[in-house]
Point group: C2
Chain length 210, copies 2
Amino acid sequence: MSWKPGGRGSRGYHHGDLREDLVRAALELIKEKGPAGFTFADTARWAGVSPAAPYRHFRDRDELMIDVAKRGFKLFSEKLREAWGEGKPSTAAAFKRIGAAYLNFARNEPGYYAAMFEGGVAIGNDPELREAADRSFQSLRAAAEILVAKMPEKGRPPALMVALHIWSMTHGIASLFARADAARRPLPMSAEDLLEAQMLVYLKGLGLQV
Amino acid sequence: MSWKPGGRGSRGYHHGDLREDLVRAALELIKEKGPAGFTFADTARWAGVSPAAPYRHFRDRDELMIDVAKRGFKLFSEKLREAWGEGKPSTAAAFKRIGAAYLNFARNEPGYYAAMFEGGVAIGNDPELREAADRSFQSLRAAAEILVAKMPEKGRPPALMVALHIWSMTHGIASLFARADAARRPLPMSAEDLLEAQMLVYLKGLGLQV
DNA sequence: TGTACATCAGTGAACGCGCGTTCACTGATGTAC
DNA sequence: TGTACATCAGTGAACGCGCGTTCACTGATGTAC
């Protein structure tokens, strides 16, 4: 089906792509009012459709939020994988890019970010969601493997632990200083600079010259 | 006024300590359903009072949440200050205690934690709230000053930056792995161990023997 | 190519419900004399 | 010590509103022959 020739509003009886548009609505509304600041009916209104229409696509608001989180993790995985760029030209440069990508995601995709990390969505219950979330972590994990492999065999830290450290320091800065909503803390420098400095200290602490 | 002799339910016309009890209600309800999962009327019900009663103490739900966040930051400050214990017997031990206190706070006080960091409460608007939040950071800041002072004068990093690093790595681990709700990520070790290891790597990266 | 029919996606009216908020009130407490 | 009065904190009834959800429906699309 051709998608809405003539733009929003000129559609006929059928919307054509309502499922997608409801997700868009959720993202937009989360961005405006937070993950809990809107109703299922709001998404229908946003999409220009009757309040009963969303029920053709999602059982309830919760199912919609899970879908949003799922898509968020998929996009997030892509962004991180791209940023890692197979560790070229240097591991340090690639880590810096991963960090920046994480912060940018928190900043530019507040809808996804909130649904993924603060929407009260339980990752455990939906296998597909869980898998998407795990896959996001894989880029970090792979990067950590490569990092660790550069160290002398004796006294290598577990790559999993290193990946978790990098994740949590990045997530901490993103959640405190790079979020897009009113809960963002003021910071007397850029979040990127703060993270890069931290990453360098951490890598140095691991015994890596960077 | 003597406070509710005979226990909850035996009170007369006046509640006696409704303001406090509404805060308790909010904490309990956040713990159960998240910071957005309850209504102003719910808090009244929880306190065993008519739905109009809360209006004698708070303009609206938002004002209640701000009060909760404020109290949360005050308690948090105390916990961190206690944990720091003037850096005795060693800076490293004191840092470890601070980290553990942070994680415990996230775990044991999910109501406060969510109101402070995820309730959508804008810290900027209320000066008292802002001050309480700032004071929480002061413990970390003071600890970082002492840490930095131990380093050779040349090449000392700014204490503020170190404090921010410690804050964000701790906050990252707390938010991802030590939160009390469904959004907590599984972790193949204790959050405390993960944090301690990270702290050690970081301090080593700063050039400190620990 | 045309037609009949099945399926699908959105409609719009309806419902019960609980919320936020206001209001005149009333019971309890504190205080001036 | 007693009494009158002011103040305070909670009541309960009421309101309008929007939400979540259901329902029989209908317009649009796809397909078998």
